[in-house]
Symmetry: C2
Amino acid sequence: MTVIGAGTIGLSWITLFLAHGRRVRVNSRRPDAEEVVARGVELFAPTLPHGGADPLELMELLEFEPDVERAVRDAAVVVENAPEDLALKQELFARIGAAAPGDALFLSSSSTLLADEMSALMPDRSRLVVGHPLNPPHLVPLVEIVGGEATAPEAVAGAVAFFRSVGKTPVVLRKPITRFVANRLQSALLQESVHLVREGVVTVSELDEIVTQSVGLRWSVIGPFQAFHLGGGEGGLRQWLTRRGGGLEQSWRELGRPRMDDATIDALSSAAEEDFGDRSYAELAADRDARQNAVLDALARFPH
Amino acid sequence: MTVIGAGTIGLSWITLFLAHGRRVRVNSRRPDAEEVVARGVELFAPTLPHGGADPLELMELLEFEPDVERAVRDAAVVVENAPEDLALKQELFARIGAAAPGDALFLSSSSTLLADEMSALMPDRSRLVVGHPLNPPHLVPLVEIVGGEATAPEAVAGAVAFFRSVGKTPVVLRKPITRFVANRLQSALLQESVHLVREGVVTVSELDEIVTQSVGLRWSVIGPFQAFHLGGGEGGLRQWLTRRGGGLEQSWRELGRPRMDDATIDALSSAAEEDFGDRSYAELAADRDARQNAVLDALARFPH
């Protein structure tokens, strides 16, 4: 298989695919690609779920090919992680599509572009599917699978099978929507979080603590609908919604509509620097990943 | 200490307080209060965090007093869990305030009413504080502490100390706001979840799976601000917000505004019954609690 792009997302994917025994050919425009990938694999391999992996062993399965056409010539699967630039991706996929085998599967990690947009210049548009991960892809289980009008059902099925084979949890969206599902949910929660901080109800770190100590814990084990289904007792979601019907709409109307102006950006950023700035990016990320893996390990004992 | 009310929240609180060695006097209007509380403690004790407890041992610390005035006469702390009815709570707190010792602390589990409203008829309004838990209180760490204009700072500090002493994570809101923080965040996420299901992008159980496999896992270990602070790399939240500034406002404008009408209630409820209906309430709740405890145990190894 071939991975295009060795940015943050690409490096995390590369590490995961290697850990699942895949021989990975990397195509990157960086002149120092080999060094960048080696550093990325060294950084991410120890934090792979369920115990980590030895980076040196993983790197034995790596190849590099700076020419795009040669990189995809015999690839069964191509995972693209180029910058979020539509024209760039259109041209890239046109070249990939022309050079790759006739049955290759093309997976884009894009978080904002749709398959039909990116495939516009391809000779065969049916094999491009979005496989949108959350950062970092080697740790967060979800991959949102989003085809377009031009995508063949077999390509969607192939994307699901591929991501399952590397331990991910693919969920197929039934229709394309801007920014897909997980980021829209993040956006909704962030909007109210910004509102509450700007209103002076809580600080940045207090808001975070409220989330991790309540809804975050809850949503790590059950989603919002099942949570409210249980909130309705024996009567389930029907009882919960029926009792709250009008009150829910009222609660939605009362949600904040903050501006993301310079003053807001500065206030939130200064608060984050104050609250989190005593630890470096590397320390915070390592702590996040260690905790995330502990949660993943704890939940791995339960049936999916 | 005295617990008023033996509904779902009251029973969960009673079990937790007993497990922390508190002698609990229960005041309930139910004629079968002793039986109801015994069943509640039996149900909840095994699911207490970090290994559960023996219900029979816990029940040795229980007392019952059906008369409100007598129930609070020598109480240092009173935790109120009456129905969400302002007139009822006002009258109840007036009676409690008149009968309890002059330095007693009054904690209300209300999720919708404010301290200043509930204390309106009390002789001394300074000792009433909202301590809002998420369901079930014996499992979810967060308690939102919300005082009012009339509340003394000492009462807020007392509420924090009390909830810490029974293993909870209290967070003090800096000003009162309708429905407090955690439920507002839940409401924001639910609104977009309902929108995405009604638009046909995902089903109820697919939406839930997306949450548990991505943002829920993430938010169980770090809150949204720290997550985006790390998303900005070395540049932190400032870099993340600066790059996305206008795009964030745009993404908020694109969030859905669903109606909670009869058709929506029926569609969501039918889907929940279809997706979750193969398991009983008791089975689903037991599975939720087992998973939640596994996550809490996994995270207990890390510094808070």
